[in-house]
């Protein structure tokens, strides 16, 4: 009990010190943001966050997709011993629910993907939405993806990263790694985003589906 009290007091002291430090910090001046706004015209998209994610700092995004794929590999190494059979059966309510909901989810994911080039949206948000749709589909119809081969699934989940690295190698012919040529930038970003959306959706959905799939 004493240990907990001392810890809470230390936390309060720490919080007070942090508050003081932040309150006396100099005001923020957006230097990087002005650089981004100045070069927005040559990035190929007109939304600044998408421009930073897929053009100016594309290497970060590539490594991030690599990290997510690595997490999936770790899960697939650990998970086969710890699955259990979910409780599901055919049900009129869930069937009608998924039949109405899934087209709306796919449509809004595609809209978010295309809207990413000029306003909020983009590949990551669209892939999260699509992954949610796949998870709901798997929960209501558990026998749906059982016949899908493991190898195809692995290829699909690595496809986004492979395509991204391939584009990077192609841009090495003239210029630096992932420095898109000016006239192709828009098309290249849209292609990368589309493939990234599908493969990230499959990866994020298999984070969950690996956990509930039954072994038979």
């Amino acid at each position: 009990m004493l240990y907990k009290g001392v810890l809470w007091c230390m936390a309060a002291l720490f919080l007070g010190m942090l508050f003081f430090m932040v309150a006396t910090m100099p005001p923020f001046s957006p230097k990087l943001d002005t650089l981004v706004q100045a070069d927005l015209a040559m990035s190929g998209v007109s939304h600044d966050v998408t421009a930073v994610l897929l053009n100016f700092r594309a290497l970060d995004t590539l490594l991030e997709v690599g990290v997510v794929l690595l997490a999936l590999m770790g899960i697939q190494v650990v998970s086969p011993h710890f699955r259990y059979k979910p409780y599901t059966e055919a049900n009129t309510i869930t069937d009608i629910y998924i039949a109405i909901l899934l087209p709306v989810i796919i449509l809004s994911a595609l809209y978010l993907l295309l809207a990413g080039s000029y306003k909020s949206g983009g590949a990551f948000v669209a892939s999260a939405l699509l992954a949610g749709g796949i998870i709901i589909l798997k929960l209501t119809k558990p026998k749906l993806f059982v016949s899908l081969e493991k190898l195809h699934l692995r290829f699909l989940s690595a496809l986004g990263l492979l395509f991204f690295v391939g584009i990077g190698v192609l841009t090495l012919i003239e210029g630096l790694f992932l420095q898109y040529p000016l006239s192709y930038a828009s098309t290249l970003i849209l292609m990368i985003e589309t493939l990234l959306m599908f493969s990230l959706a499959i990866i994020l959905a298999s984070f969950f589906i690996n956990a509930v799939q039954d072994l038979e």
């Binding site: 932040v22 990087l32 650990v78 011993h81």
Partner: protein
């Protein structure tokens, strides 16, 4: 009143750290980890706010961070399951 949010972010950071140290259950520790990562993201974005617009570089950084956080949570939860299964 938007200058309130950096302090809320700091408070979330400290609370999440406390939960990460104090709690026994591993799932509880993972949720506390998520709370203190949320605190860091909130601080980063709200501190870099200027002229009613979020800084684009900070937003992109935090978007990357959210996806990586999900990866960390998913892998951590699977390891927690493995530890509960191994205890049996």
């Amino acid at each position: 009143m938007l200058s309130l949010y950096p302090f809320v972010g700091l408070a979330l950071f400290v609370l999440g750290l406390l939960g990460f140290i104090l709690k026994e259950s591993l799932v509880h520790k993972l949720i506390s980890l998520n709370i203190f990562l949320s605190g860091i993201f909130l601080f980063l974005v709200s501190q870099s706010l200027s002229y009613e617009k979020a800084d684009s570089v900070a937003t992109a950084l935090v978007l990357t961070g959210l996806v990586v956080t999900l990866g960390v949570s998913a892998f951590g939860l699977m390891l927690i399951r493995a530890s509960y299964g191994a205890k049996r």
